[in-house]
């Protein structure tokens, strides 16, 4: 464990009866990092998070959060971390300012400090002008930012965010992440659990989980390079052909690892150097007019290859 680790997890496991929810997971999170925790339902995301918050006792292994042991010091962890759930609770008939004041009181901030923190938070989420609007009247993206501000009111060093931008549009998501990056620059540490690729792309490092096990953890760029280990091509069927038969031909070609149907084209991962645009188009000569263009490897590719063994579709 490095001295700067805000979260240090060693061989952490949790079983419920015969069911192993978290299976010997180890990782560190450094100060100022934005780390994503990506996995399907039942992969152990929430169970891990609950153990790190000191809400659930591990079956074996150990973990420290802000230097505190999650079993021995569980009570001391929660006041020092922020938590924003996907089902965050705003009081809809209270104003923006009243929501912040209420939660500040829950965390025991005195009046002077509460006033100072409220101003800082309103500035951070750019809601100064809407402070007297009811929370229920805010648009979705703004509500999410208010929920973030509430989770930050007691100035925690470490934040756990559970699907923070699910259901918001790209522009609102971008504004939200700009706030997250500002927090990380200030040296705060952020752990985001999600099952959306759009959200995962924003994390500095990404842990991928399935069935309780940590399958990989690295930057999105490194995961795309090392896990996928192949070239991405976009295949555009001729205008009168449907993608179905082209897909069937494609998956039978040697060196083709994975094919996915997008709206009006196909996305293929092939073994490194197996094809050039021309040779791949030649291999699909049964479809005159088919076009092949270079594409980018996606986190969907990474996820499918790790979790589903790269099954062909």
């Amino acid at each position: 464990m490095s001295p700067d680790a805000v979260v240090a997890v060693h061989e952490l496991s949790k079983s419920f009866g015969d069911f192993v929810a978290v299976d010997a997971v180890s990782f560190d999170v450094q100060r100022g990092e934005v780390v994503g925790y990506l996995g399907p339902n039942g992969s152990g995301k929430t169970t891990t998070m609950r153990m790190l918050l000191g809400l659930l006792r591990p079956t074996s292994g150990s973990a420290t959060v802000l230097g505190l042991d999650v079993v021995r010091d569980a009570e001391r962890i929660r006041p020092q971390v922020g938590y924003m759930s996907q089902r965050f609770a705003l009081y809809e008939d209270l104003t923006v300012a009243e929501n912040l004041r209420f939660y500040g009181g829950v965390y025991g901030l005195d009046n002077a400090r509460l006033a100072e923190r409220m101003e800082a938070m309103l500035e951070l989420i750019e809601l100064q002008d809407q402070r007297n609007e009811r929370a229920g009247e805010l648009a979705g993206g703004w509500r999410q930012r208010l929920a973030l501000a509430i989770a930050l009111i007691h100035e925690p060093e470490l934040m756990f965010l559970d699907e923070p931008t699910s259901g918001v549009d790209p522009e609102a998501r971008r504004a939200f992440w700009d706030v997250i990056y500002t927090l990380a620059e200030q040296g705060r540490t952020i752990v985001v659990s999600t099952h959306y690729m759009d959200e995962a792309e924003h994390c500095g490092r990404l842990a991928i989980l399935d069935q309780g096990r940590l399958l990989a953890m690295d930057t999105p760029t490194a995961l795309k390079r090392d896990v996928v280990h192949g070239d991405a091509w976009e295949i555009v069927p001729p205008p009168d052909a449907s993608p179905g038969p082209v897909l069937d031909s494609l998956v039978r070609l040697p060196g083709v690892l994975r094919v996915e149907t997008l709206g009006d084209s196909l996305h293929a991962i092939v073994e490194p150097g197996a094809y050039q645009a021309e040779s791949l188009a030649d291999a699909l000569a049964g479809y005159p007019g088919v076009r092949v263009e270079p594409a980018e490897i996606s986190l969907d590719d990474v996820f499918s290859i790790l979790v589903s063994g790269g099954h062909r579709r």
Partner: protein
Amino acid sequence: MAAMIEARELHKSFGPTHAVDGVTIEVQAGEAYGLVGPDGAGKTTTLRLLVGASRLDSGTVEVAGYDMATQTEEARASIGYLAQRFSLYGDLTVMENLRFFGEVRGLTGLTFDQRAQELLDFVGLLGFEDRRAEHLSGGMRQKLGLACALVHEPPVLLLDEPTGGVDPVTRQDFWQLIRRVLEGGAAVVVSTPYMDEATRCSRIGFMHSGRILVEATPRELAATLSGRVLELAAHPKEAAQAIARADPDVEDVLAFGDRLHLRVTDPAGPLSRLPSSLAAAGIEVVRLRPISPSIEDVFISLLAEHRR
């Protein structure tokens, strides 16, 4: 190809709010049309107008050749609709739910039994007939919802944010089902705030403030920014962001976890200038290269243009 949905100049206001403000949509058989846009753009209201659940202020909707205003019954009978918070009966079993929706749609007896077997097989719920809906996982509930929407073999399927809160594996399964519905010749309209879901549609209408700003295939959309997105990976990222923003040909900088996307008016200038200006500031450049724009890049640029 026949248009299965023809909606012309739809208008719907709630008090002073123009929720839907002149929307025209045409969807062909076998086509998946993605209605994409921010919260409050009017996506759900548009779907409710298409399904006839909400009364039009003006405009016309034709579904499978039937006019929603004058041939309401026939038009509605042609539609399967999966609402955002679709209501299954939690205390009814899978089969009982399916039977309920079958009866509403006039399916009984042997016809229903055959259709139910087909559908349960199709969505992968065979063997779960007697499980109560409230005891199904999120993904299974959603598949049951889809089966209920498809019970009367509608030629038109409308899905309002169908995969909200569903994990990626389940989402891929769900889209495989939708793809088979499309291969069967149905027309599908999907509303979604997710860009990765939008790219699975054959055509995308980008909605904002009650209007469709742009309508195109995912590839045509990406082509509007072709050559105008650069990927920059550099340490420290924040300093790199400030320098990139200052370049005269950089319109916008979008931060991701370990890299930046720069939207440029012309790539040549930044590609030649940025390496030296970043190096001069002591910033280590890991990568600077043109990339294919994502749908997310396109939408953010569209919104910026629209607001200008």
